[in-house]
Symmetry: C2
Subunit: 199 residues, 2 copies
Amino acid sequence: MSKLLDNVTGELQRLPGIGRRTALRLAMHILKMETSTVDSLAASIASFRHDIRYCRSCNNLSDGDLCPICTDPRRDRSTICVVEQVADLMSIENTAQYHGVYHVLGGVISPMQGIGPSDLKIDLLCDKLTAGGIREVIIAISTSVEGETTLFYLLNRLKAFPEVKVTTIARGIGFGDELEYVDELTITHALMNRREVER
Amino acid sequence: MSKLLDNVTGELQRLPGIGRRTALRLAMHILKMETSTVDSLAASIASFRHDIRYCRSCNNLSDGDLCPICTDPRRDRSTICVVEQVADLMSIENTAQYHGVYHVLGGVISPMQGIGPSDLKIDLLCDKLTAGGIREVIIAISTSVEGETTLFYLLNRLKAFPEVKVTTIARGIGFGDELEYVDELTITHALMNRREVER
């Protein structure tokens, strides 16, 4: 087999969800693409890895010192939404319903994976709260064991700022979810947090 | 959103089967990879597109003038298996049961897509047959309308070489296929080509 083909399929298989067959299919497609398109693909991958930076204020991915959200004058800087990772921030941004700023922890506390509180950007968050001007911190981290551990630790640290309101996003039955297949914990939360309907 | 991230996800989405979400997941994974690994990924993609060549004899992908199969002294050069594309050649190679050489047409005749016989490497095949020394041509192209058209055209061209045996691969029920779900044409072929069982 061609060494060039071996190389490219081998390298592509390092990416998640790409097996031997998919790598081969991608390689065959790459052959049909314009050379210039393939060059920009390769260049964008390398430059993304080399040049990407993390926002000095919120730890979001950024091209410069501060990310576009932190520098946007229309965003409400008094509300901070704390998320695990950049992908979560993007999911919230896609709703176009949130106008505050973010804080990306960069993971959750996981003793199993050797990730402790000091590996997350928690001090950076506390520094912002110390600087003042923050009204509310919305915690939007997952309800996994690690997420709950992180929540617990965060709430403890946030006790130092009693003037700041701390909230978590609502847990409940998702739109389109069938009650029959929803887990007990979610149903319990959804029942406890039931809302009176206007008549 | 970061322009670097926008670029890389946009470029990745040009690949088949990669949508916005997958592109984002790949980008996030790329961030966690070693810089040197990302560099080899990018370099292998670009160099595959720039440096790959097609075997002068069989049209297989190749690093040089002739592909590894055509230069392998252990291959039987008197038997040629004709396939549509390189991926088909690889599927056959994976069985490790075929010891002849190949001929990659580079597609099938498709008037709808503007692909005529002259766009395929059919003349190259006839040149090889004219040169002599070929005992058998095995045609292993798909049974689509385009495949059948190509088969018909090929058989016509091969009439010029009556000394060469021409065969097609067997059609039948695949291992693991359930008869209930197999199409009528395949079942008809499988019935017609039934084999007597040794008792």
